[in-house]
């Protein structure tokens, strides 16, 4: 990846993180899971997807992104805002019933392909879209992002079986492998490793990358085989860090859902920019 592009992507990612941090005030958000998939979201929308954002009428030839792990919607809205497809002021309406921005993706926000929140649903919905794209002879790419904790849901594996039976090689499932489910490390509750082997055993074409490294993201997505209707679905396991960018909350089991005060948000923004060591131990942290 050329340097100017890398710098631009990194700078967008930084601003998306600022949006996420601000959305953790006034009621809070699932900050950890949002921060872990920022590079993924920014890369996909800025560089990879032929998305339908900003179009008057949706184009059936567009690529699709489905956010199955719903909690990370601040990363999606932050990316929309940075790309100019969502008025950043609306992010301030987070959790206001006067707007449509809440803790999970909402199709009322232009660009959100489908709502989610209940885990293990969107792999199937994405498979249905992938099937139709193939029936119409389109070269659309369909990407669905799941959490790693979400892989506890049997419906994910059910859909992987079916997608491979139907040879939906235009479908790519990305696992945001941030090592945590809601309250504990995945490996301490329902161990997933060796995860790549599991997907391979199901017949998937698997790659595992550092999900915070734009060059690796580019290589993985640009390296996806041309869909021919003959192969298995693609899986990209993106190794990430929950809470990435804020050392004070990174990889902590108790930093799943956080509701910060306005003052704490300011401290975290300082921390994001590396200006100050911040460790917030306040009781205002809400862990749901």
């Amino acid at each position: 990846m050329i340097n100017t592009k890398l710098v631009e992507l990194q700078s967008t990612a930084l601003r998306v993180r600022e949006h996420i941090i601000r959305m953790s005030a006034g009621g809070g958000c699932f900050i950890g899971a949002s921060l872990s998939c920022v590079e993924l979201m920014v890369y996909l929308y800025k560089d990879f997807l032929r998305h339908g954002l900003g179009k008057e009428s949706p184009d059936l030839r567009r690529d699709y992104l489905f956010l199955s792990k719903g909690h990370d919607v601040p990363a999606l809205y932050g990316t929309f805002a940075e790309l100019g497809f969502l008025d950043p002021r609306r992010l301030g309406n987070h959790l206001s019933t006067a707007d449509s921005i809440y803790w999970h993706p909402n199709r009322a926000i232009p660009g959100v392909e489908f709502h989610s929140g209940s885990l293990g649903h969107l792999p199937a919905v994405a498979a249905g879209v992938a099937l139709d794209c193939r029936l119409r002879g389109g070269d659309n790419r369909i990407v669905v992002i799941t959490g790693d904790g979400e892989l506890n849901e049997g419906s994910v594996w059910e859909t992987v079986l079916v997608a491979n039976a139907q040879k939906l090689d235009n479908l790519t499932l990305v696992v945001d492998r941030n090592q945590f489910q809601a309250n504990v490390r995945t490996e301490e509750l329902v161990p997933l490793e060796p995860l790549a082997d599991k997907f391979r055993a199901f017949g998937c074409n698997v790659r595992r990358i550092d999900g915070h490294d734009f060059s690796q993201l580019e290589e993985a997505f640009r390296g996806l085989p041309v869909a021919s209707g003959a192969g298995g679905m693609n899986v990209i396991i993106a190794d990430t860090v929950r809470g990435k960018g804020l050392p004070s909350i990174e990889a902590r089991a108790d930093r799943w859902f956080c509701a910060f005060t306005a003052a704490e948000v300011e401290q975290l923004l300082q921390e994001l920019h590396g200006r100050k060591e911040v460790v917030i131990e306040s009781e205002t942290l809400v862990v749901r």
């Binding site: 059936l60 919905v125 879209v129 139709d132 079916v162 139907q166």
Partner: protein, 303 residues
């Protein structure tokens, strides 16, 4: 015309239709060779079936999906509610062997709460045809609408020739001043025979095929309540949440009171066996239905 003939004819005429099944091929045996890639069997995967149908509908398709009624409505319930319901997508659910039609399968296969749970989903329509004739008269309107719909598939041949179908309208077979029987689905045939028995006994008995349970024909329920001294609801469904509940809701809404006798399954699964035996054991033969109504109407007149 059979269900499958209508399905294939409709699918051939409309490219938007995708016929899907979770490996329940009883009603769609010939669809694969005729429809090719527009026939999709996902295997024994009701959740994925419904989720994929939602994805196909997002792209402008009208998926008509098949599975045994209990597994479709209960195993995949949250997918129906969350993916089809919230997005209000035109996914058409065909539930096979609902109610008593599961005959010898046992309680795992008894779909006797499907009307209750499907009508609880905002925007979901619920249809319960009386027999094959009623089924094929109903489906074109159901499949061509923009709404998600659950159909309690009843492909059994009946003896009655039904009137044309309209969503939200009941079919009035007969009017009566003593009793009106409200019925849907497979028990329509026996209710019709029971009505004839009661007429011979000198009672004036009406019969209404409810067919469209959501939207329901409120006006016809109110008319029946005002026309006769007693209503009877007959259903191969739990007492809770089905037709008896619907009638109670409608009567309360309009402030109309009428004595109503429910014939339904009360708080239990039915004893499995050959359908003819099940009807006998559960008291759903024409004679037993007529007997219960007759006794109840006698009580009414004694008051």
């Amino acid at each position: 015309m059979t269900y499958e003939e209508l399905l294939i004819e409709t699918a051939l005429a409309d490219e938007r239709i995708i016929v899907m099944t979770a490996e329940n091929r009883a009603l769609v045996r010939n669809a694969p060779k005729v429809l090719g890639s527009r026939f999709v069997d996902t295997g024994i995967t009701e959740q994925t079936l419904v989720g994929m149908a939602a994805g196909l509908a997002l792209r402008g398709r009208i998926p008509i999906i098949h599975a045994l009624a209990p597994f479709l409505t209960m195993r995949a319930f949250e997918f129906i509610r969350t993916d089809v319901g919230i997005a209000h997508l035109p996914v058409k659910l065909s539930g096979y062997i609902p109610g008593l039609l599961s005959d010898g399968n046992g309680p795992t296969h008894q779909s006797i709460e499907d009307v209750a749970i499907m009508r609880g989903i905002p925007g979901m329509e619920v249809y319960c045809p009386a027999d094959e004739d009623d089924l094929v008269r109903s489906l074109p309107a159901i499949w061509s609408s923009d709404a998600p719909a659950y159909v309690r598939i009843n492909h059994k041949k009946g003896e009655y020739t039904h009137a044309s179908f309209e969503r939200g309208r009941a079919e009035v077979v007969a009017e009566g001043t003593d009793v009106t029987i409200l019925v849907y689905g497979y028990l329509f045939g026996n209710a019709l025979k029971a009505q004839r028995i009661l007429q011979q006994e000198g009672l004036s008995v009406g019969l209404v095929n409810m067919r469209s349970l959501k939207p329901v024909d409120e006006a016809e329920i109110i008319r029946a309540a005002k026309r006769s001294r007693m209503l009877v609801t007959i259903e191969d469904h739990l007492l809770t949440g089905g037709l008896y509940s619907i009638v109670a809701e409608v009567l309360l809404k309009y402030g109309v009171t009428v004595r109503t006798l429910p014939l339904a399954l009360e708080e239990r699964w039915f004893k499995p066996g050959l359908l003819t035996e099940v009807l006998e054991t559960e008291g759903f033969t024409p004679e037993k239905i007529a007997g219960k109504i007759y006794s109840s109407s006698n009580l009414l007149y004694a008051e």
